[in-house]
């Protein structure tokens, strides 16, 4: 029955995926009509021919979308097509004509699934190329983002989990620190950015700091809550076995609170991954968030969408890792 459910849900997922792709494809479909030709009137053709322009050249340039006034200019140059090409093309001669590659498609500017697929394939097959500071494989860019997240997150865990233990085990610490936590917690991580940039200066360290500060709170509050709500009976078991504070913390409180702590860590990694994209858009330089912004500025929507897809997949993988961890430490009372 479960197998059956799995199979059915997978089938349904595929149906949804393909119908979405189909709708996307239909709305962005542009028939490949080649460059849009310009149709000249007999009178215009006669004018050009009268200026000694070859008939086949007129036909060629018109088929490339060059309008009559520009054709008239070309005719005025008195050069054949071969000579124009040798001079570097008509654009090099100061005549503005539409670019045959970037001619706007008459249907939609939005890339079709096919274009995304091609771009995605290119990314997957060569994720680590470096062709300049602004043109690196998305694998490398994802790596930069991931590195920042891991460093900021690890620092946050190193602070939040011991501090959460302290707060959870000591009512005094809880009461004393609670006001600070309550005020600092709701501040948007990006609001820390200017302070970080001003005090730390370095943009790299600033984005790590932002990750640190946004990962801190869910881990801290969840650890404190988990530790504080460990069943009294289990603490009593530790006490009647004469376990010291450290042994009690490690062998009773930690495993008892682990599911709650991991839940906090899972929330934190999710937030950290959300925030790194925004932070990299702000500070620029490297990282997948910067890539999205860069491709948007270059109007490469296809590449941008690939980057967005990769952000989603990476976030999913991070969450799945913590879900596994959560299963490993969970217990049934």
């Amino acid at each position: 029955m479960i197998r059956n459910l799995d199979a059915r849900s997978a089938l349904l997922s595929l149906v949804i995926l393909f119908s979405c792709l189909f709708v996307w494809h239909v709305t962005t479909y542009v028939p490949d009509a080649g460059p849009v030709g310009v149709v000249l009137t007999q009178e215009q053709q006669d004018t050009l021919l009268g200026k000694n322009m070859a008939a086949e050249d007129i036909e060629y340039y018109a088929s490339q979308g060059v309008e009559f006034p520009q054709l008239d200019q070309i005719a005025g140059l008195g050069l054949s097509r071969d000579m124009i090409d040798m001079a570097g093309g008509i654009r090099a001669l100061g005549i503005s004509v539409p670019d045959e590659n970037s001619a706007p498609a008459p249907g939609s500017l939005f890339p079709s699934p096919g274009q995304i697929g091609t771009e995605l394939w290119a990314t997957i097959t060569d994720p680590f190329y470096v062709a300049g500071t602004n043109d690196m494989g998305y694998g490398i860019q994802l790596g930069y983002s991931l590195l920042r997240v891991v460093i900021g997150y690890a620092l946050a865990a190193a602070v939040a989990i011991p501090l959460g233990f302290l707060i959870g085990m000591s009512p005094l610490a809880y009461k004393a620190l609670d006001p600070f936590i309550q005020v600092l917690k709701p501040i948007s991580p990006l609001a820390w950015m200017p302070i970080a940039l001003f005090t730390i200066g370095d943009s790299e360290l600033s984005s790590i700091f932002v990750i640190f500060i946004c990962s801190l709170w869910p881990m801290l509050t969840n650890t404190a809550f988990g530790v504080a709500s460990v069943r009294r009976d289990w603490i009593n078991v530790a006490r009647t076995h004469e376990l010291g504070t450290l042994r009690t913390a490690l062998s009773v409180i930690l495993p008892a609170a682990a599911p709650t702590i991991i839940t906090g860590m899972r929330i934190s990694i999710g937030i950290a991954w959300l925030v790194i994209v925004a932070a990299e858009m702000l500070v620029g330089g490297t990282g997948i968030g910067y890539v999205v912004w860069n491709e948007w500025n270059g109007l490469r929507l296809d590449r941008m969408i690939v980057a967005i897809l990769l952000i989603g997949v990476m976030g999913m993988l991070l969450d799945a890792a913590f879900a596994r961890l959560q299963r490993a430490v969970s217990y049934v009372e």
């Binding site: 009976d233 289990w234 009593n236 078991v237 006490r239 009647t240 076995h241 004469e242 376990l243 062998s251 009773v252 495993p255 008892a256 682990a258 430490v329 217990y331 049934v332 009372e333």
Partner: protein, 304 residues
């Protein structure tokens, strides 16, 4: 008179009553438990049995009074006083075996891993848990099995005093019967001093050498100490045949049903409240005469 192995002296417990005053649960309770003795304490809810238990375990502090074990004053929890909690208190992330080794390792810190496991397995086997079942987590065990693990954990630590807080309260009658018998078996093999809270009169008679009876709270006190004059080994089916069984049982029922109320709420008059010793024995010719009159209160023999 020599001090008993475990001596509870002038124990008083007060709690705030929620209206600014104090509520005295029990006052100047004084009694003793001898080494190797199995003592049950019977009383209605709210008379402070669990509070006494927590004080003995060192998990709670009395308002005044002391508990002395082996001549030393008890303060804080100790491995010398093992506790079996009513709700088992097994660590749910550890298997049954690991729960027992957890205790054994805390007790015998210099033992090797193999030694610890061997010891734990032996005590688990004593309560009838052997084979693959010891690798199950508490959630995969029945209530009775969980309490067996809890008992094994407590006995494996070989404490000087074993405290059982209504260990069978949450179990069905059939399971309770078998585990009671296992408890007797383990106890007779280990010569452990046991102090146990219970609500169940038959259970108390089956298990105990002596039953302490508490009056109702507040201001509860340990009013009587009833000796169980039924010879061991006892067996739950044969015990009812013994002439003393119903005499003792009637006395206990009568106390809990009626006299615990009548005696309740008497404030301390400055003297300590030692329980009166009661001995009911229909088999001894000498006490036969005393035992003749029917109403229970007159059955009391002279206290010591």
């Amino acid at each position: 008179m020599a001090k008993p192995f475990l001596s509870i002296e002038q124990l008083t417990q007060e709690f705030p009553d929620g209206a600014g005053g104090t509520l005295t649960v029990f006052e100047k309770a004084t009694f003793g438990v001898e080494k190797g003795e199995f003592v049950c304490i019977l009383g209605h809810s709210g008379c402070g049995k669990s509070t006494i238990m927590n004080i003995l375990a060192g998990l709670a502090e009395p308002t005044s009074g002391v508990v002395k074990m082996d001549g030393y004053e008890v303060s804080g929890p100790s491995l010398d006083r093992g506790v079996v909690f009513q709700n088992y208190s097994l660590l749910p992330w550890l298997s049954a075996l690991k729960n027992v080794t957890f205790g054994v390792r805390a007790r015998y810190r210099d033992w090797s891993r193999a030694q610890v496991e061997e010891h734990a397995r032996r005590y688990l086997a004593m309560v009838g848990l052997e084979g693959d079942v010891v690798h199950r987590k508490p959630a995969q065990l029945s209530g009775g099995m969980r309490q067996r693990v809890s008992i094994a954990r407590a006995f494996a630590n070989q404490p000087k005093l074993l405290l059982l807080d209504e260990p069978f309260g949450a179990l069905d009658a059939l399971t309770r019967g078998t585990i009671q018998e296992e408890l007797i078996k383990v106890w007779s093999q280990t010569e452990q001093t046991v102090f146990m809270i219970t609500h169940d009169i038959d259970e108390a008679i089956l298990l105990a050498d002596r039953i302490l009876l508490m009056t109702n709270g507040p201001l509860a006190r340990v009013a009587e100490s009833v000796e169980i004059t039924v010879p061991r080994p006892r067996n739950r089916t044969e015990i009812v045949e013994h002439p003393n069984y119903y005499a003792i049982r009637n006395h206990l029922v009568q106390f809990l049903g009626q006299r615990s109320k009548e005696l309740a709420g008497q404030p301390a008059d400055g003297t300590e409240h030692s329980p009166e010793t009661v001995r009911i024995d229909k088999t001894e010719p000498s006490s036969q005469d005393d035992a003749e009159p029917a109403p229970a209160p007159t059955l009391r023999a002279v206290g010591d």
